[in-house]
């Protein structure tokens, strides 16, 4: 009996772990199967959710196409400015709040406008004069035009538009350029904006793309409804893009309000070889007064940027000669800048400018720290 009991105990000891192990294995298999089922279920739910999200986005897109919403975008920037220029002082500057309103009226028609509120002036109905205590900035309709674009490669714009000249005059918005200051000659030789009609036509020539602009306008110094002479200005721009190289030329001709015939010419070159980007422009203007001697004004800049991760480094050399007949009038500027892109539409900038004059006693330095944001889903 004792021997039998010992044998039974030994047999149980040998068999029970096997049974336990087999049960464990079954449990593991079951759990693994459950896990597989859950994974599959999860994938199906994910797929379904993706489908729902896709449908929702499709609905929003369809709604957006037929709705009468106006697309609002823009940019804003604030600066801290520091200088050793005797005629200026360190200050904070609420520089731009620029809003773009874009409305696709029909498939082929669009209204584009840019309202710029610069330096945040206080404008009140009882202070509409040039009282320097109240009006120190500007509220400007920088662009407002109606565009007709039956094809992707051409359009006609009527209203006020950025003068198509060179590179910086068109592509100058603070969230997307490395410096807060613009090159010295920009807006001095070619006007910033033009009121008139513009035709844009784009075509390919082999591997190259050529963009052309042709426009007729009131002329510089004639904003709004006042065109103070019978003469009209005209201008053109051509830009050829071949791979990473872009080359172009601009012209502009007008007789201004004091009867000076102005003929402006510009050349530009762009080399976009990521992470480097180089751009340079030369502009020249012949000024022929009705009475008196001709004179020229001209300028040049060359800018190199380098992108690395969220950083952009930039360096620029600038020169502007406001009057070729006065050899002591040239201005030079050397700029270095560092940008940090917090996001693709938020950038912090630190910029240093060394301004050099023919009379070295006038030289001065500037440091600008800025935070810039692009508004809206661009």
């Amino acid at each position: 009996m004792r021997r039998f009991l010992i044998g039974a105990i030994l047999a149980l000891t040998a068999v029970l772990p096997g049974i336990a192990l087999a049960e464990d294995q079954t449990r593991i298999d079951r759990l693994e199967q459950e896990l597989r089922d859950l994974k599959q279920e999860n994938q199906e739910i994910k797929k379904r959710l993706d489908g729902v999200a896709a449908e929702s986005e499709e609905t929003r897109d369809s709604f957006g196409r037929i709705s009468s919403f106006v697309n609002i975008s823009g940019y804003a920037d604030a600066e801290f400015y520091l200088t050793d220029n005797d005629s200026d002082n360190a200050h904070f500057r609420v520089r731009h709040l620029s809003l773009f309103f874009i409305k696709d009226i029909q498939k082929e028609w669009r209204l584009f406008s840019e309202i710029e509120y610069e330096d945040a002036p206080l404008v009140e109905s009882e202070h509409t004069t040039d009282d320097p205590d109240t009006v120190q900035g500007k509220l400007l309709v920088e662009q407002m035009y109606i565009e007709y674009h039956p094809e992707l490669d051409w359009n006609v714009r009527a209203g006020r538009f950025i003068t198509p000249a060179g590179l910086w005059n068109i592509y100058h918005y603070p969230p997307y350029v490395p410096t807060q200051t613009r090159p010295l000659m920009v807006r001095r030789i070619f006007p910033q904006v033009s009121d008139g009609v513009q035709l844009m036509y784009s075509f390919t020539a082999g591997e190259s793309v050529v963009d052309t602009h042709l426009y007729v306008a009131n002329g510089a110094g004639n904003p709004g409804r006042l065109d103070r002479n019978e003469e009209k200005a005209w201008g053109a721009r051509a830009h050829l893009q071949q791979g990473s190289h872009g080359l172009g030329a601009s012209v502009y001709r007008e007789i201004d309000n004091v009867d000076i015939l102005r003929n402006a010419f510009g050349l530009h070159y762009l080399w976009d070889f990521s992470p480097f980007r180089f751009q340079t422009e030369y502009q020249y203007r012949q000024n022929s007064p009705d009475t008196g001697s001709d004179f020229i004004d001209r300028g040049f800049y060359a800018q190199l940027t380098y992108d690395i991760g969220k950083w952009t480094l930039a360096a620029r050399y600038d020169w502007y000669d406001p009057n070729g007949s006065q050899p002591q009038a040239d201005i030079f500027r050397y700029t270095g800048a560092v940008n940090y892109h917090f996001a693709y539409n938020v950038v912090g900038k630190a910029e240093y400018n060394r301004n050099v004059f023919e009379d070295s006693t006038e030289d001065y330095n500037e440091v600008i720290l800025a935070i810039v944001v692009a508004i809206g889903d661009l």
Binding site: D50, G51, A53, A54, E57, E58, S73, G74, Y75, F100, I102, F112, Q143, E147, E151, L152, D153, I162, I170, Y171, Y173, P175, Y176, S202, T204, V209, Q241, S274, D307, I308, G309, K310, W311, H341, A343, Y344, N345, A374, L378
Partner: protein, 148 residues
């Protein structure tokens, strides 16, 4: 005296450390509508389409370009291999063109690959990119190139 170069080295090291790196190992498919006249596209041709150097297909149909969100890993690979730029840089450039109203045919950014597939299946002139596994065997679209 030697402190400045050392600081500069550290400064540049920090820049390089911040540089983005492509993280996706999956193959990407460039897709067009099944009725598109183009049977295959080279990377250079795709880049030209995505940079508006080409505005219409050989049969005259206008090109409609689709993109994924800036932070999508598929876009990161596509952008780096085809456009040779980081997605954020490309987004900045489009934003600048759009804000100046100089963009001729900007891409439409959508949130998911399934939306791109749906749109391309629907629009004859559409082009986009998705992960190969999401589109393999789909008869409504045509794969014109793949990117490893």
């Amino acid at each position: 005296m030697y402190r400045l170069p050392r600081i500069l080295i550290l400064f540049f090291a920090a820049f390089f450390a911040a540089a983005p790196a492509a993280a996706l190992s999956e193959t990407i498919a460039i897709i067009v509508n099944r009725d598109n006249p183009q049977k295959a596209l080279s990377r250079d041709e795709i880049r030209r389409i995505y940079t508006n150097s080409v505005l219409e297909w050989s049969d005259g149909t206008p090109v409609a370009i689709y993109d994924l969100s800036v932070d999508d890993p598929v876009r990161e690979v596509f952008s780096g291999r085809v456009l040779r730029k980081a997605p954020s840089k490309v987004a900045q450039e489009w934003a600048h063109l759009k804000i100046t109203n100089q963009a001729k045919n900007p891409p439409t950014a959508v949130k998911s690959e399934s939306i791109i597939i749906r749109r391309i299946a629907r629009e004859k002139g559409a082009i986009g990119y998705v992960s190969l596994s999401s589109v393999e065997g789909n008869p409504e679209v045509r794969i014109v190139n793949t990117i490893q």
